[in-house]
Symmetry: C2
Subunit: 413 residues, 2 copies
């Protein structure tokens, strides 16, 4: 990206603001990418002059985005330069998640480190949205209190939901496994939190999980990838050019509807039959391994299945082998269609990855003409935290895109 500079002709104030904002973002992103950099290096790398860089850095420091972290060794030439880094001591982002059977929250600082995390089991299926969002707001309030203790100012919350979200408005269109439709979740949550002074952004769980894994997990550095997000349903996200691929309407990634038994399979909520989701969703797996009804207050069905598999239960292992083959058949089809370099099993499927990966990999090798090394199939690195980490990452991306949304310190108190 080239820096924007003001021309010598008179410029309107609105244009000047836009140029300043763009240059603040350019400098903040460069610092985020490099980790540690001096003002002189910034000037050289961005093409902005040193005076402009100093002024931009001063504002970024004031807004709590950048900090001076010490002196670099000047190599004996000239005086040593102050090293600039992202400031992890002043700004925080919240990640929030409503899943079908739990609620979760995390607080991340500007370097993406998790400073607080909490999750509670909560059966949200068919539950009244107001009740669920009140419980989520309670969890968020505890996280905000923790921000206070840590001296961090929250600048936004990213909320993960298991459904389709309308691009632009952030309205939840349809969350089949919650039974929610056409819901302005962001506004309701804002009301439940007493209108806090920060942005609330809503996203699809699989997309946010993929963003979390891209930022700090199994998709780090991926250009072409696929994340398969298993829970009650199975969603997913396609990665193109290192970013979440939206498709024409923002709904891309739904690998849960690959046909496996399209004629004689169980009816799927999409209207089809025998889709992947009907065979490898969390409850289908629980049924298949025979632990249906063996619900636990503290453990999710997937964790129960994983425990039995770890204990060597042959019936459970045989059932997971079947799931692995089904999953592999669908991954093979996705590999043929979109040719990803890396496929990540996340959510429930991530929990069960140790037992699913060998069979899924074998099915992909058998059912595609690609070389066995051409596609890596791996488990999630962030586990249950992927979607909330992605929610927080969304907020942190936004502040690097427009540093002026970070608050200036109050002038009086």
């Amino acid at each position: 990206m080239n820096p924007l500079t003001t021309s010598s002709a008179p410029v309107r104030r609105a244009d000047q603001r836009a140029v300043r904002q763009s240059n603040l973002s350019l400098v903040a992103r460069r610092i985020a990418e490099r980790g540690a950099i001096s003002r002189a290096q910034l000037a050289k790398q961005t093409g902005l002059n040193k005076t402009t860089v100093s002024s931009l850095v001063a504002e970024l420091i004031e807004r709590g985005i950048v900090t001076e972290s010490g002196l670099a060794d000047g190599g004996g030439v000239g005086r040593p330069a102050q090293i600039l880094e992202l400031d992890d001591s002043r700004i925080a982002a919240l990640g929030l998640e409503v899943n079908v059977d739990y609620l979760a929250v995390c607080v991340c600082d500007l370097r993406g480190a998790v400073r607080y995390h909490a999750a509670v089991g909560h059966d949200n299926r068919g539950n009244c949205p107001d009740v669920v969002l009140a419980a989520l707001a309670e969890l968020a309030a505890e996280a905000l209190a923790e921000c206070d203790t840590l001296g961090l100012t929250p600048i936004g919350a990213g909320v993960s939901l298991p459904g389709t979200i309308e691009a632009g408005t952030g309205t939840l269109i349809h969350a089949p496994n919650l039974g929610w439709d056409e819901l302005a979740v962001g506004e309701s949550l804002r009301a439940a939190l007493g209108d806090p002074p920060f942005t609330i952004t809503v996203g699809n769980d699989a997309n946010l999980a993929a963003l979390g894994e891209l930022e700090a997990g199994a998709l780090r550095g991926s250009q072409d990838g696929l994340l398969i997000y298993g829970n009650i349903g199975i969603g997913g996200a396609v990665i193109v050019d290192g970013a979440i691929f939206a498709g024409a309407d923002g709904f891309a990634g739904e690998i849960g509807h690959m046909p496996v038994r399209p004629f004689d399979g169980e009816e799927c909520r999409c209207g089809g039959r025998g889709c992947l989701e009907t065979l490898a969703g969390q409850e289908a797996i629980a049924r298949r391994v025979g632990i249906q009804g063996a619900r636990s207050e503290t453990l999710s069905p997937a964790t129960l299945v994983a425990e039995r598999a770890a204990s060597g239960d042959p019936a459970v292992i045989a059932a997971l082998d079947e799931v692995a083959e089904i999953l592999g058949i669908c991954i093979a089809a996705a590999v043929s269609l979109i040719n990803p370099r890396r496929v990540v099993l996340a959510g429930t499927l991530g929990t069960l990855a140790p037992w699913l990966l060998p069979g899924a990999r074998a099915a992909v090798v058998q059912r595609t003409t690609v070389a066995p090394t051409a596609v890596e199939i791996v488990g999630s690195e962030l586990g249950d935290e992927a979607a909330i980490r992605g929610g927080a990452a969304l907020v942190l991306h936004n502040v690097l895109s427009d540093p002026t949304c970070a608050p200036l310190p109050a002038l009086s108190h």
Copy 2:
């Protein structure tokens, strides 16, 4: 794109050449996009100064890329300006195709109009590559003779093959339905043509068919799309941001391996079972409608099937209804995964589109949660010419990217 301009500091000759080449491309592309434009408008729109634009346009005219087509009405202010357009009278691109059961060629001018077209039935399965390429060279030689008659100079040939092509080298890696492997088709064809003075580029048939439809057919203006290219096998191409999506290794688009009967279906050449291709490839359709063995010297099996369907044969129509549902099941899965705006049936499936579209559309509506209007499923507009048109388009794109590959007129003769 910003124009590149030379800085005031001394610049090496290689850099000057690169800047000139880039600016030639900028101007040529702008003329191609706008259709008709004056030098003054070009200067305004590209940011290049008028003297530079005049010099660039002079070179483009000399190279046969641009022509002056008359005077624009100056609106009473100043003298009328010469209108610039792409020159369709001097440069030609060849599109060539080796398909499983035919060979084809076309000649396109710089505006993409087809000036010559020929196709011959030729059973290439298991046939020796040298024999097939000699027959293709013969067809190409007739096209080159026609170029001569038309006064067009051929600047390149784009060759369509039904197989995977190695990015970079253009080597055919694997064409299962031809039985060809690891073949430098471009070099062999060059030898068979007596080392002609133009580039020969090789591409996958489905990708070139999609490029043809993007340029002048059913995908014109599409940003997010999918083309399904049926023949003996079924390939395809994914469109992202208005261009062919390659995937990590250049193999994206292979929708022929969607699972339909993955456990009890027929073995597929990919190693799987019951893939779309085993159920809706040309021979599977011929078998299903009972015309296997009823080969015709002049008609492809798909054309025979289409004729019987058009005559109202109820058994054929019932068989095509089954194929339509299978196709719809696979399109529904692709819609869920990549959310295209437009899906195009091409090749054999394009020939049969009138009988396949209603059933395929119904299956997609039934088996996805998208609105019926969210994805348009249509037939190819270019039919059998799609891949050769795409081959020629590849060459024409290349000359707009680097106008210096167009020949300067000989200085003596």
